[in-house]
């Protein structure tokens, strides 16, 4: 069961967008697909939902290939940055059409959400501002009730108040009706507390694939007077270092040993965004 991505490779001309990507998405968790712009996140999501075809490899949903397979594709709803509904379709018509194809779509809930977000359902989709066009797609995603939900940069262009509302609604929905959600984003800090399992993608390759806590357990921060930190760091795998005046802070790979910690130094856990940045820099420094 679940979404299986097996050795997917995709090239656009001479650029390699995805290189032998293999992932497994299952078990009713909230997954995060984290990466910078251009890392390959959207391409991967397009391939999962059969909008693009891979050059090699395959995607299975519940053990069925997605290629031209309505039964498999009907289990997924992909909320991308693009609006694929006809430009001059009105919002309420779009709700009705989605209900036609996804029978579990809750129109009543969608209209209720439209009210809460302040979205006028009589408007044409092209007439919506960037923010409201995103909100429209979010409402679709929150109301569709499919076993798998893929969200690509869900909150881009949305103001802080509505972002907050969205995350809360998403958590509420997930808590009451568990499903499998994948959030793809470069806004690491926003989703750090939401995701249970992390995929980190860089230049078309998956460089990390593990539960978020395990990921963060794999490193720690140490800070204090510069000279003390520097001597502490020798012999250890350093992810990143930053200094300000006489103080230094470093991210270190490995398990923190409190017992042999010199006085004057402080240990801390790694934040997801800091770890992510370290990883990106580390790969560049190699």
């Amino acid at each position: 069961m679940g979404i299986e991505i097996k050795n997917v490779t995709k090239n656009f001309g001479s650029t390699c967008a995805l290189d032998q990507v293999s992932l497994s998405i299952a078990g009713g968790k909230i997954y995060g697909l984290l990466g910078n712009n251009g890392a390959g996140k959207t391409t991967l999501l397009n391939i999962i939902t059969n909008r693009l075809y891979p050059d090699s490899g395959e995607v299975l949903i519940d053990d069925e290939s997605v290629s031209d397979n309505d039964r498999a594709l009907g289990k997924v709803f992909f909320m991308g940055e693009q609006n694929l509904y006809p430009d001059n379709m009105r919002v309420h018509k779009a709700f009705a059409v989605t209900k036609l194809f996804y029978p579990n779509f809750d129109i009543q809930y969608a209209n209720e959400l439209a009210g809460r977000f302040g979205l006028n359902t009589k408007k044409k989709i092209t007439a919506l501002s960037t923010g409201y066009a995103s909100i429209f797609r979010l409402i679709l995603a929150l109301s569709v009730n499919t076993p798998y939900l893929l969200l690509d940069e869900p909150v881009l262009g949305i103001d802080a108040q509505h972002r907050d509302m969205f995350y809360k609604l998403l958590i509420e929905k997930y808590s009451e009706n568990p499903c499998t959600i994948l959030i793809s984003t470069h806004l690491i800090q926003e989703v750090a507390n939401l995701i249970e399992h992390t995929f980190i993608i860089k230049n078309g390759c998956i460089i990390k694939d593990m539960p978020r806590e395990e990921l963060l357990d794999g490193g720690y921060t140490v800070s204090g007077p510069a000279s003390l930190v520097t001597s502490y760091l020798s012999g250890r795998e350093v992810l990143s270092v930053s200094s300000l005046g006489g103080l230094k802070t470093a991210c270190v790979q490995g398990k923190a040993e409190r017992t042999d910690l010199p006085a004057g130094l402080e240990l801390g856990t790694l934040g997801l965004q800091d770890y992510f940045i370290s990883l990106m820099n580390e790969e560049e420094n190699k």
Binding site: K29, I30, D164, Y167, K168, I171, E172, Y174, S175, E176, N193, L194, I195, E196, E213, L216, T221, G268, T269, L270, G271, D274
Partner: protein, 125 residues
């Protein structure tokens, strides 16, 4: 309820500590029902599985119990248990560092006890 979690400790531990604080301070009284996992995860914008982990720390320690079909409640002797647990931690987290700091500053034992007495009389119960 928009509390930001810091990066210092895993979030589920921070949630557990928040719940313990609430029990100690009386915000949650014994036999009170506490909010559901959904409500916690929504309020703090955290993954419900993580919220569950945090709550289960208290359940495992006997501070909370679950009533099936109803929700979670504060145990009758939760405050006592917590106070005991916190006393040991109080020594480790506050007293020990205080002593170490005092040593570093060169404060003598009698000076130290004087300070303690002063504090107790200014803020004492």
């Amino acid at each position: 309820m928009t509390v930001r979690f810091s990066d210092e400790r895993p979030i589920f531990i921070q949630l557990a500590e928040m719940l313990e604080d609430a029990i100690l301070s009386g915000a949650y009284n014994e036999e009170d029902q506490i909010p559901s996992i959904t409500e916690f995860s929504v309020a703090y914008k955290m993954n419900p599985a993580t919220a569950l982990k945090g709550v289960n720390i208290l359940v495992d320690a006997g501070l909370l119990y679950k009533k099936r079909g109803v929700g979670m409640f504060v145990s009758r002797d939760a405050r006592e248990k917590l106070a005991e647990k916190r006393k040991e931690r109080f020594y480790r987290d506050f007293v020990e560092p205080m002593i170490l700091e005092a040593i570093q500053l060169g404060i003598s034992e009698s000076e130290f006890i004087e300070m303690a007495k002063r504090g107790l009389s200014e803020h004492g119960n």
